[in-house]
Symmetry: C2
């Protein structure tokens, strides 16, 4: 087996960091390394934490991490920032997280920002989860910094997902679209000492009950109050996360969820690899540039041309 | 030719709206329709407008639209909102835009929100641009509501792009990452009557000058002040946009930009179609589900398996 992979499996933090970098940079060897690591995965519980900016997600992640450490669990944190090219969010986040990390060698923190396409970011997150898992982390927290559909996709990597809400941010019933309801296994109403917290709590609980009734789900997402700044409610929240994990395992849903995740990840990996190989082949010969010349000159149109190319690859597909 | 396509080319607004819906819904016929429409495109000038939330992009888009109408130009607006599943942004935006639209039948406005993946949204935007172009709109404005790397990708559809900034939002030199500098053909410092506007103007100008010097660009992005709320600076901004268009045409850059766009769009269409066909074929037989079973049971790993599948499609690729 490759030396780097062996070192990761033996618990070298430096090797883990290097392997993550290779994966992030889409190093040609990374698929082979990930393949070698895969059989050693599946032990960590993956906790997703997401929500609007300003809800206090990072502070809450910090508190949960400390609570997990009190329970003698090792923790890996992936802070994903599909952030704006207009704001310095990622930089600022890194600085804050580096402070947090400095105290505890059992907590490994990795920030990831947008690089290339967003589909890629979700996949890279899944790969980094596997690396931390194989390294031996008991818990892996995927924290999304920012907001958007992208986060929903990224958080699908998790076994248990906390959606963090806070009063005064417009996180009302109307704003909670279907995607959020689908991914939330727990809700944390953070900043619960602020005005509007009770109303938000009632509102979300009602919505969750309605949703559970319609969908006849076995698990009804608990809605818990936290004040992350004062470390209030963290233990109860973590207890609820553990309850969800136990529910997954006892109900048999764990296998279903993990299979669905494996399916999604394999499919997206397959799409990416096919695209990559295809593009290499097409850009390798001059035919593609000739086609673009024809398209620009309106001698051909892109839509019919693409269908023709696909038809030559999969001759029986039409 | 297809009846719907004929009606679009004859200027039926209803047909245009229907065709856009077909494209958005990824109707199986949409590629054929887009192919039929393609020869009738290439006449409209595509103006991208992007920037952080709170800069007043929508108001500025509104003012520019009115200014274009004063110049007897017909306008199509595509308001793209890769918005949060956590906020009601898209809804609110729709309401505002519907008010704007109500006055002028020569202005066609279409909102598009995230559906599926974001790469798809950029491509759909490009397709809708083509439909409005073939319909006969002189100008097509692609306005992104929100913020993120996605917007940068979407705005690449444009011939000319305005990046809107405003004082007091943290839009400083540090926050202007490379991606933004690359897409900006013009900067509008909006809300220029507020404090901090002059400092922001000076800062951005300096940055643009440095950038132009390093890259030896022929076009140095003008930085203009606007107060969209009071319709101040709109005509000058539009004059600058027209100057950029003239620059593109006179310098020969227009052909280069359009070729690059055609290349990008064709490539992304090709990737998508190959993925789609591939997935259909793979999901069509039971082998993929059997593979997932093997992966979940750790008998196989996804990374090696995917490489094997790709190897069977492109036997000579390794």
């Amino acid at each position: 087996m490759n030396k780097l992979v062996t070192e990761v499996l033996q618990g070298s933090v430096r090797a883990m960091a290097r392997l993550i970098t290779l994966v992030e940079n889409e190093d040609p060897c990374s698929l082979e390394y990930l393949g070698a690591i895969y059989p050693h995965t599946g032990n960590a519980h993956v906790l997703g934490i997401t929500g609007s900016p300003g809800t206090g997600k990072s502070t809450l992640t910090d508190r949960i991490t400390t609570a997990l450490r009190r329970r003698a669990q090792s923790v890996g944190i992936i802070a994903v920032d599909p952030s704006s090219p207009f704001t310095g969010g990622a930089l600022l986040g890194d600085r804050i997280r580096m402070q947090r990390a400095s105290g505890d060698s059992e907590v490994f923190i990795r920030s990831m920002a947008t690089r290339g396409n967003l589909g890629g970011l979700a996949r890279t997150t899944a790969d980094v989860v596997k690396i931390m898992d194989a390294f031996g982390k008991d818990w892996i927290i995927v924290e999304t910094v920012g907001v958007g559909q992208d986060e929903v996709d990224i958080v699908r990597t998790a076994d248990t997902t906390i959606v963090v809400l806070a009063p005064g941010l417009g996180d009302t019933i109307q704003s909670m679209k279907a995607g959020v309801m689908e991914i939330a296994d727990l809700y944390a109403v953070n900043k619960a000492d602020r005005s509007g917290a009770e109303a938000l709590l009632t509102e979300v609980k009602l919505r969750v009950e309605q949703d559970a009734e319609i969908k006849k789900t076995l698990w009804q997402a608990p809605v818990l109050k936290t004040v992350a700044l004062d470390d209030q409610g963290t233990e109860s929240l973590l207890d609820a996360v553990v309850s969800h994990r136990n529910f997954l395992k006892q109900s048999g849903n764990f296998e279903i969820v993990r299979r669905e995740k494996a399916r999604e990840e394999t499919l997206s990996l397959l799409k990416e690899e096919i695209s990559r190989t295809m593009v290499e082949k097409i850009l390798g010969n001059g035919r593609f540039e000739a086609l673009i010349d024809d398209i620009v000159a309106f001698r051909k149109d892109p839509y019919t041309s693409v269908q023709e190319i696909v038809g030559t690859i999969f001759p029986d597909s039409e």
